[in-house]
Each structure stands twice: as structure tokens, then as C-alpha cells.
Amino acid sequence: MIDKRVASLEAAVSGIVDGATIMIGGFAAAGSPVELIHALIDQGSTNLIIVNNNTGSGHIGMAALIENDRVKKIITSYPRTANSVVFPEYYKDGKIELEIVPQGTLAERIRAGGAGIPAFYTPTAVGTPLGEGKEVRSFDGKEYILEYGITADFALIKCKTSDRYGNLLFDKTGRNFGPIMAMAAKTTCAQTSEMVELGEIDPEHVVTPGIFVNRVVTVPKPVHESVYIEQGRVYP
């Protein structure tokens, strides 16, 4: 029987080893799988390479993962978000490596990784510092740089609805990186607000087909990052 459901957050993040590459969904706080990130902190693995569009806010979620010294390197497009207090300190002190990637190139590299495309050419960042040292090639008289697909050992993403096959629906702009990260990770773990029976999701509406998902844990009332931040919460 195909059943992607796992009983606990602990089970959802089990098997992540030190040094693993982990994609974490979310754009700013929307779609950020806060509960899964906290479970990852509890789980204890370290020296992680994280792929996330931002670096987290306050002292919870993504920021707490850094503040608990679990992150060796982060691949991101926009580390300098509001309330980002942890990352700048770690960066200044040389305690975290940073690979900065334009957001669309980051998205396309993740999508390529998931689609079995090892590398592609893109016009983004040509002639800028982020294009420096990269292979440049002209097509039809216009310059492009070569970028490589990214894959990960795990992806942690947040969705709204799932069935036991792992077919996923998302919540508004919380969708952001979830679907492409699900494609690019060996083991994709999703937290969902609701679990429905097979057949309740219209096959025309599925956003992420279950084939891209390995584990789904139900978190009926996920707490939004901003709520924790208002509370001044520090994790753990």
C-alpha cells in the first residue's frame, strides 16, 4: 500500500544525517514549514547545507536552525530580510558560508535538478558579479551563463492539503518553492494542515503529484513565523 503519511514530526525528519543538503520551502514567512524546521533542530543533525530563499527572522524557524549551529552553508537569493538578526551575525563572524543566487536562477536550478537537467544557460546575471567566473556562451548573438541543477537529500515543505499518495495543494503565495523543491529532493517531507481521502482532491487541481513526495505529516494548526516573533519566541 502506498501511504506517505507519517505519525509525527519526528518521523518526518528521521534519517537526516550530518552534512546533508536540505531544501526548505518558503518565501519570507509564507510557506515556511516552521514545525518541520523545529523538528529538524530537535533531531540534531548538523553541518547542513541549506537551500532556502531567505535566512529566517527572529529566533525561530530557519533563523533558529542557524542559531543552533546546524548550518554550514546556505544557498539563498535574499538573506537580508526584515527581522533577520541571526544570519547577519553568523555571516559577519564567518560562521556560515553563503552562496548567493538570483531568485529565478535558484528556482530554475532547483527545477532542473528535479527534472534531470544537469545544466542550462540563462541570461540572468550576465555581466554582474554573480555571473563572474561562470561559463559565458552566446546564442543568437545574446550572452548567457551556464548554471547547474541542484538536488538535495531532503526537502521540507509546507502545504495545505494532502492525501495518502502525497498529492499536494498549497495555500496562496505559500506555494512558492514547495513544488519545485519536492521534485529535487531524494526524500521530500511535507507538513500539511489537512489530510483527505484519496479521490477528494480533483485530479485536475493537484499541484504537486504524489510521486514527488515521500512523507506527509499532518500539522492541523501550523503557527506562522510572525506569531512566534511577536511573542519573542526563541527556539528551542
Binding site: 502506498i2 501511504d3 485536475e204 510521486i211 514527488f212
Partner: protein
């Protein structure tokens, strides 16, 4: 020993049944046109397998009765099918991302020729003037984790299909994992073909005599 035409060894349905036994529970499977499609009928009932059809459906079900055929719901072989609970539709970019990205566990395909290094030829005889048609075959063999071939051991002209090298144009290099024929189940391993199982009443020597390359025992 009887001639192959006199139906020694496994019948087509037995070949499909035999291949089906090797499809594990909880796998995503793509079945090629023809005999491969028959495999779905023989999956043990306690296993749940999800079928992918590369024209854009995951969770494909069996052919419907005539009165409930939907012309916009077909498989890659252009046959009417059904969509089971938990299925989903997607476009060709996403469908082949599943294939190329290594998300499909097993693909069962027919073959014209299989070489002892796993090379597969199943899309063209290379005869000039014929219309070449490849469809998704090259993507499937390049991307799916394990490629099973199901085929008669010899052509209708009694020539071996399992060879040292393919003479027909390739579909993919070093892609086949296992071959199911009317005579035997044969793996492709580093050193070449290896016998897994003989069909009832078939001897190893007979299989070897019908094969264009060494079979390791």
C-alpha cells in the same frame, strides 16, 4: 524439443504474469505499448502500484467499458483508460520531468534487440524510407530507475533478439536491467547476460542456443 512456434515456454500472458511478480509494492511504474501493458493485470492483489502514462496522467486505471469511454482520457498508446482515485493530470513538461528526473521506479518496454551490455533497440529498424517514430522511449530509458524488457526470445524469423551488440539504431545505451522472454528471465549484469529463471520445460542449453551472446549461469 519443440519448436518455438509450438508455444513452448511461457505464453504472452505468463510472461506478463512473471514480470508482474517483480514489480514491488508502492512503486511508480510506466508500461509501454503492447505486451508491457498486460503486466498491470497480474500484479499481486496485495501490492499497490501507481501507473504513469507519459501523455500526462499518474494513477492510470484500466480500459473502461465502451459506454464510459472519454476521448480526452487516453494513455500513451492512444487507448481509452480511466483515472483512479488519487490520480492527477499534468502537462508534458512535468510528465517528462518525472521521467528524466528519475522519479519513476520501473518501466517495462518491448524490444527489437537487447545487447549484453544493456543497450536497447526498440524504436526503429533503421530501414531507409520507413517513418522513424520515437515517442517517449528514449526519455524513459534515460530516466527511469529500472528498465525491464518483455519480449519474445527470438524474432518471428527465429533470429535472436538478445545479442552481443544491437544492429538496429539504439534507444539507449546500457539501460536494460532485466529481460522477460518466453524462455527465461535474464538479468543484465556487469559481465553480460545472467540467467535468473527458466520457463517450465526449457533447458539452459536451449535458451543459450537461441541467444546471440553468452548467458552466465
Amino acid at each position: 524439443m519443440k519448436n518455438q512456434d509450438e508455444t513452448i515456454g511461457w505464453s504472452r500472458t505468463e510472461m506478463a504474469w512473471r514480470a508482474a511478480q517483480d514489480i514491488p509494492d508502492s512503486t511508480y511504474v510506466n508500461l509501454g505499448v503492447g505486451m508491457p501493458v498486460m503486466v498491470a493485470q497480474y500484479i499481486p492483489k496485495d501490492r499497490e502500484v501507481i501507473y504513469h502514462t507519459e501523455n500526462g496522467l499518474l494513477g492510470m486505471g484500466p480500459v473502461p467499458p465502451k459506454e464510459s469511454i472519454d476521448l480526452e482520457l487516453i494513455n500513451a498508446g492512444n487507448e481509452p483508460v480511466t483515472a483512479l482515485p488519487g490520480s492527477c493530470y499534468f502537462h508534458q513538461g512535468d510528465s517528462f520531468a518525472m521521467i528524466r528526473g528519475g522519479h519513476i521506479d520501473i518501466c517495462v518496454l518491448g524490444a527489437m534487440q537487447v545487447a549484453e551490455n544493456g543497450d536497447l533497440a526498440n524504436w526503429s529498424t533503421g530501414v531507409p524510407g520507413t517513418v522513424p517514430s520515437v515517442g517517449g522511449a528514449m526519455d524513459l530509458v534515460a530516466g527511469v530507475k529500472r528498465i525491464f524488457v518483455i519480449t519474445q526470445h527470438c524474432t518471428k524469423f527465429k533470429e535472436p533478439k538478445l545479442l552481443q551488440e544491437c544492429s538496429y539504431p539504439l534507444t539507449g545505451k546500457k539501460v536494460v536491467s532485466r529481460v522477460y522472454t518466453d524462455l527465461a528471465v535474464i538479468d543484465v549484469i556487469d559481465k553480460g547476460f545472467k540467467l535468473v529463471e527458466l520457463a517450465p520445460g526449457i533447458t539452459f542449453d536451449y535458451v543459450q542456443s537461441k541467444t546471440g551472446a553468452t548467458i552466465h549461469q
